[in-house]
């Protein structure tokens, strides 16, 4: 029994070792908030909305809130919460924003929180970057760039789980 447990531990340790070394993610600092790899995926043709994703870490001692932002190709940006429970998708604007407690990391990612880009004026192109800002209640505004991943990407190539190709699920929009 002990032996088997040890065996499992050794196997686990070995499995842990070759974890892909994360490619360099784009990072930004807004006061005590570390902003890691903002990204979005190419929305469908003519779409009026898109979702932006980013990982936020509060390295300070006071809570802060993500209250909004901007992106170069949309008229408005809102902070949204999305959930799928029992097959039903629910979405709402978070007011007054998304709290990040001291020491906490909050991921805005598919299936969860996102930045809602409203009234898209131009469809973004995969492989390019979009300029924007994130605005925090205390840390203020910070300039960022969103990496544009292919349509259907489940994660950002750099922020993701080392899949290297965005997601492997990406399907280029056939214009």
């Amino acid at each position: 029994m002990m032996l088997r447990l040890m065996h499992i531990c050794v196997v686990l340790a070995i499995v842990q070792l070759p974890m892909p070394v994360r490619a360099q993610s784009q990072e930004y600092q807004a006061g005590a908030i570390k902003v890691t790899q903002p990204w979005l995926r190419v929305p469908p043709a003519a779409a009026k909305v898109a979702a932006g994703f980013v990982t936020l870490t509060n390295t300070g001692t006071a809570p802060d809130r993500l209250i909004g932002g901007t992106v170069s190709n949309a008229a408005r940006v809102e902070v949204h919460e999305m959930s799928v429970v029992a097959g039903v998708m629910r979405m709402r604007q978070l007011q007054p924003g998304l709290e990040i407690k001291p020491g906490e990391t909050v991921a805005l990612e598919p299936g969860s929180y996102h930045l809602m880009f409203l009234d898209l004026q131009k469809s973004p192109v995969a492989g390019t970057n979009l300029k924007g800002t994130l605005v925090f209640e205390k840390a203020g505004a910070v300039d960022i760039e969103y990496k544009v991943e292919p349509a259907g990407a489940r994660s950002s190539a750099k922020a993701g789980k080392g899949s290297g190709s965005g997601s492997g699920a990406g399907r280029n929009a056939s214009q």
Binding site: R41, P43, P44, A45, A46, A47, K48, V49, A50, A51, R76, E78, H80, M82, V84, G87, V88, M89, R90, M91, R92, Q93, P110, G111, H114, M116, F117, L118, A151, G152, R154, A169, R171, A173, S174, Q175
Partner: protein
């Protein structure tokens, strides 16, 4: 035997015949309609039903266009930033992975935001996905009708400046060639699992 006694016996026999007839009829009715009655009293609920909508091509599209082949049906809206485009993208990829078998499957996407999702707008939007996927929209009443038939929930959520978003059932419903509910595909379900379910669905037709 007095006449009155004979009449009484005849009357009794007649009532017995009526009673037997009613019982037999009842048993026949129950047997013949057993599946419907079972459903009505809480067995396997029937999902789906008649509907009349408009496709993104501008052509009319009804439940009759879904007969004879297995199909996948999904409800959403174009101002949905995450679940809907991801699901349509997943379905496009699965259709490609099914290769020739992809033609054995119909895939329809029904807008639950007909106010903004006109056939013209859907025509543009659907260009980003597999050409076999049909986008459907209609009047508010037509959408309410199909949502009820497919037991789909949707509701408007008011937002800033008169804007709104929608909450809605986000699972893809799968039906076999007979039109019977077979399975679902969930948001963020693994690609292999989705493909296995679709292969089973088209293989059985």
């Amino acid at each position: 035997m007095p006449v009155s006694s004979l009449l009484r016996r005849i009357r009794f026999a007649a009532w017995v015949a009526v009673a037997l007839g009613l019982t037999a009829g009842g048993v026949f009715f129950l047997t013949r309609n057993a599946p419907e009655i079972q459903k009505a009293i809480g067995g396997v609920a029937r999902i789906g039903g008649p509907f009349q909508l408009t496709a993104h091509t501008g052509q009319p599209f009804s439940d009759r266009d879904l007969t004879g082949k297995p199909y996948a049906i999904f409800f959403g809206f174009t101002r949905c930033p995450d679940v809907c485009p991801t699901t349509l993208n997943d379905l496009s990829l699965r259709l490609e992975e099914l290769k020739a078998d992809g033609d054995k499957l119909r895939v329809v996407y029904v807008s639950i935001d007909p106010e903004r999702d006109t056939p013209e707008f859907l025509a543009e939007y659907m260009k980003s996905f597999d050409k076999r996927i049909v986008g459907l929209t209609g009047t508010a009443a037509q959408i309410a009708g199909i949502a009820k038939a497919y037991r789909v929930i949707y509701e408007k959520v008011p937002g800033a400046a008169g804007d709104y978003t929608m909450n809605h059932t986000a699972s893809v419903y799968l039906f076999d060639a007979k039109g019977d509910f077979a399975s679902t595909l969930a948001y963020q379900e693994g690609e292999k699992s989705q493909l296995a379910k679709l292969k089973k669905l088209v293989g059985g037709s």
